[in-house]
Amino acid sequence: MTAKPVQIRLRGVAKSFGGKRVLAGLDLDVHEGESLVVIGGSGTGKSVLLKHMIGLLAPDAGTVEVDGVRLADLDYREITTFRRRFGMAFQEGALFDSMTVWENVAFPLRRAGWPRERIAARVGECLDLVHLEGAEKKLPAQLSGGMRRRAGFARAIALTPKILLFDEPTTGLDPVIKAVIDGVIVDLRRSLGSTTVTISHDMKSTFRIADRIGMLHEGRIIAIGTPEEIRACPDGRVQQFIEGRADGPLSD
């Protein structure tokens, strides 16, 4: 793959919570237009990594750069506007539970000051893209897990972001719905052309959506490459993880 410009650059990012080290000087480049999937066991700090990319968490040490801008240089008002170039889909959808699906998707558009007719048109488009037509008037509590995530995707793409972040989009869903969600992610990328970073520990969906795969272990990226390179990776920890074996270097 020819080297595309780097959109998100992490250098030496370290983060601890209450004395527990989660990220230990992590380096990572995300290139424009690619689909990177970060894999790793539960509790290895994958979500923490994602939240650093969008500035929800600030690193204890190291830098995070997006489009050449250091996030640490922005004050809290500047970063609010800066985040418009991101769309993020949360693990359980994180829909606003007092609003209907329609209002949830319309929310970012309203806040960005769009006129009424354009909002209605755009919300319709976004719900079509995730195959949620007809669920506009439902409240999040009335949706199934898969529908909630798709509604979360629709809200994330409403402002056509250049970068899409997915936090464990398929965790806790049945295999068929997982395949549907993976399909939606691939479609979204194709139609928006965005850079996407996905967090996952599901190898099947990882191979379905990834251009490149990086494995996070003990606060660092221990291997990164195309799906073929990862499949052929000599590192025993990577092999154990992608094959899902109980015994191996990760369990020691």
Binding site: K51, I54, L56, Y76, R77, T80, T81, R83, R84, F86, G87, M88, F90, Q91, E92, A94, L95, F96, D97, F107, P108, R110, R111, A112, G113, R155, A156, L159
Partner: protein, 253 residues
């Protein structure tokens, strides 16, 4: 310093720091668009209108009990004619603002703690930030101003009903003369008594909202954490009201 004391002192200063940071951000975000009048309206109804019955009931009985107590005491000095002034001035200066504020802390401070806490643990607050919306701007600014505006309005109602409660007890139970009782009520009261009570209650309203939102906003640890935040929001708001009442009273007279 001992190992037991030090983390607690640090935690105290962290809390105080967060309080002032949030207070500052509420002021800083207030003049900035988009202005969410719908949210403000919703919060004003929830905080103000929905609290009317409980505040009125409390004020009615507080006014009544004030009359009961003072009548018995002042009778010993043959001064029962002053019950009206005493009830009225105690109500408008102290009892209506503080009791209404404590009720609001229980009703709304807890609700804010629980609501924002739930939004925090279900990542809805993160989602707001990601959707280029500052949570302080969207969630706290309307709540803070709604509470600041509605608590004085509630206190105006409580003043009237409290005085009415005293009147009912004095005239109905002790057979005081209705005309002299009413004249007495307003004889010694001046505008400063009323206005200082209202200023105090506006400050209490702001404190309740900031403390409630702060506790919710910094919630950690799932459903249990939300429960903890809700309790702490009420306890801390109530303490803050009582302590600041002393200093405000000192300042305003």
């Amino acid at each position: 310093m001992s190992g037991w004391l030090r983390p607690r002192i640090e935690a105290f200063f962290v809390e105080v720091g967060r309080f002032f940071v949030l207070l500052w951000r509420v002021f800083a975000w207030t003049p900035r668009p988009p202005y969410d009048f719908r949210q403000l309206g919703t919060q004003m109804v929830r905080i103000g209108v929905d609290s009317v019955p409980v505040v009125l009931l409390t004020a009615l009985f507080t006014g009544g009990v004030m009359a009961l107590q003072t009548f018995a005491t002042l009778k010993r000095f043959n001064a029962e004619g002053y019950v009206g002034s005493l009830v009225a001035i105690s109500m408008v200066r102290e009892l209506a603002p503080v009791l209404s504020a404590l009720i609001l802390a229980g009703r709304c401070g807890s609700a804010m703690g629980a609501e924002l806490g739930t939004m925090r643990v279900t990542e809805q607050i993160d989602a707001l930030e990601v959707l280029a919306t500052d949570p302080v701007h969207y969630l706290m600014v309307p709540r803070a101003w709604a509470a600041t505006l509605m608590l004085p309005a509630l206190v105006i109602l409580a003043n009237g009903i409290g005085i009415a409660g005293g009147y009912v007890v004095s005239v109905g139970l002790f057979g005081a003369n209705p005309v002299t009782y009413m004249a007495n009520t307003f004889q010694f009261m001046d505008w400063n008594d009323v206005s200082s009570g209202l200023v105090k209650s506006a400050v209490f309203g702001l404190l309740i909202a900031i403390v409630g939102c702060q506790k919710g906003f910094y919630t950690t640890g799932g459903a249990e954490g939300v429960g903890r935040s809700t309790t702490r929001a009420v306890v801390l708001a109530s303490i803050t009201i009582l302590v600041s009442d002393f200093f405000l009273t000192k300042l305003l007279y």
